[in-house]
Symmetry: C2
Subunit: 440 residues, 2 copies
Amino acid sequence: MNYAQRRLQLRKLVPQGDILILSATHVPRNYPAEIYPFHQDSTFRYFTGLNEPDAALMILADGTEKLYVSAPDPGDVIWTGPVPSPRELADLASIEGIADYRKLANDIGKSTLWIEPYDFQLKLRLSEWTGLPVSDLPKHASRELGRGIIALRSIKDDAEIAQIESAIALTRRMIANARAAIEPGKLESDIVAALLAPAIAKERDQAFNPIVTTHGETLHNETYHHRIESGDMVLIDCGSESELGYCADITRTFPAGDVFSDRQQMLYDAVLRAQLAGIEQTGIVGTTQYDVHMAACRALTAALQDIGLMKGNIEDSLIQGAHALFMPHGIGHMLGLDAHDMENYGDDVGYAPGTKRSTQFGLDALRLARRLEPGFVITVEPGCYFIPELIDRWAAKKHLADFIRYDELEKYRDCRGIRIEDDILITAQGSRVLGPGIEK
Amino acid sequence: MNYAQRRLQLRKLVPQGDILILSATHVPRNYPAEIYPFHQDSTFRYFTGLNEPDAALMILADGTEKLYVSAPDPGDVIWTGPVPSPRELADLASIEGIADYRKLANDIGKSTLWIEPYDFQLKLRLSEWTGLPVSDLPKHASRELGRGIIALRSIKDDAEIAQIESAIALTRRMIANARAAIEPGKLESDIVAALLAPAIAKERDQAFNPIVTTHGETLHNETYHHRIESGDMVLIDCGSESELGYCADITRTFPAGDVFSDRQQMLYDAVLRAQLAGIEQTGIVGTTQYDVHMAACRALTAALQDIGLMKGNIEDSLIQGAHALFMPHGIGHMLGLDAHDMENYGDDVGYAPGTKRSTQFGLDALRLARRLEPGFVITVEPGCYFIPELIDRWAAKKHLADFIRYDELEKYRDCRGIRIEDDILITAQGSRVLGPGIEK
């Protein structure tokens, strides 16, 4: 679908009211003029293709469309060079009407539908435009509009799949570059430099701050100061964006030297077994992502029983969530213009109407549980972690001791973390791992 | 001065009221959990050395000090690993009192002094804590506190100079790496990859989004998509941060091939002459940065007269700002924990009490004009640009035609832009170009 078709579809899904979609703004870092690199709002980009800050799309109740932008200040030409006119921008997005962003407030009324911005400057602006206090924005945001956007953005067409695959292809080069740089004595940050170079050379943003760590057991480790020691593993979780802003999200875990130790190899094989079981489950037509999660966790539990770290009836163990000691996160999430696609729309993305996220430890971090439909792109990313603080907390209470061999586990507490992740397209017949193969 | 001494000095400069200084926050990029890399507020870092988000320093009227932080959530350990306790953080900053950031509002009263945050989330929080609308924050911010902070941060001690010089040393490596990568056929972004690699490998942020462009005439060109052609020049304006967050800010302009063309060489020499004249002026005890600006512009005017692009009485030309056609920006700014150091404090940084920024085109962009004092670190960064839109605008009006040879200028309109920039320390006896020499 082109941008105009997407807007038409949205208008059909949300037939009443004026629909307002805001672009991102420049975000100050040290002071107003020192900004973070601009990153467009994914929904605005999805419906317009434009990469402009401080713009807005209005789809009126009668189906007409307006693009709100600020006319360039002629004095700015010395700082910015020539920039496209409002008309040129609107033409790029096939939008007929143009209007002044600074007068947008005049066109916002009680029947205007909008979603709550995650950007704080936009929260403030919307508060000013609507007369609502910032704290009241969530309850006036249109859940119906959010659901319409989710319905469209969830189903990726061929052009979007091609974008994701091009992001994965670049990510594969990044990971190959990084892997070639891994050697004992270097810092994690040395590997980050190798990882990012191919993306910077193509002027591609990262889909998220990459994880490059010898301490994979810290799930969101975004610092890079450890020195790589012989015998370490290096976990790399990263993804480039494509030209149009679509994301890759890939994880690989490598030995610091040529090969894993025997114990690392056993644990790696356990995670790989879990990942392959998860991917296999994605191919079952009509499966839910909850079932994908459970399939992977079942395989992980079985593998950890083989290793001697778990025990007992596998189904009981699964239902009680014993594996969450080793894998306290969900199996994966939607992927698209965001790494956690549409996460700002809340659990309507991952949970069907009437269903709720579990509060069980581990499952409480499962972002996506619903039935998988053709066109969904999701990640499958099981891991196995030895988190000393978590082990100690569970061991002290002998938590789920019917399923965990705490005595044996003590010998593994310094094993850190392993994760393997790929991006999967759900098709009418099954599923397909996206992108060129990446060694695992 | 250590952090405790800095706070003591601030308390002496601002003797009344409780002083509140806020740390930066995590800034959402795609959704609340997908954030830009964290960047600390420079003033909070200056007075505490801490790199924590969501913290605050209070220096009470009686001189006692409190650090507000949030106690870590035990559940977060799986995501973040072990983190320092509030007591450990306060000890790092030599602060005696600790308190809960979530209860900070209770300790904010009418006599609390604060500066207006540039971060929009902090604007909102401060509005909530003080009961003031966000739009009223500027008029309730303490200009006295701002001036006290400026007075301290403006004078760099030896340890700060060492930090800036280490940032410059790394920046020199970045520029050498980039220069070695320049060749016709490559993209600007290829050069960016080479430029950033040494900084990423040391886990150092950039002081600002680097400029790497074959179109130096666009002053703030932060895209990198041009292909480098034979005969181009590549302008690189960049700076790494040091370990403690101090900035370098260096500009060099290189030929795409081995040598400049004759015309490029003439223009380059004109800019170099202007830069050396500016640097020489910084060495005159008691000079103002306004005089540094004028010294550089005088030399540039003389050089452009020699080339045949300008004419007439040099002092008249200077006073009327004819050179601003070629150099529409100021000669430089303060440098420290920010690239434009303390720019969020407004013109109190660069202009003495009772003086105002000129409205003349060119001078209106001069961020720093005041008397230079020992311990100031400033940039000297003249340039010469051929901005087609600006040339056309002036030529159409024959603006300042007594000083500009518009007929001759027409032949140069595709010459683009050159800039040369170094960082200068003002000393008691004169001034010193900081860092290892960088070829120019």
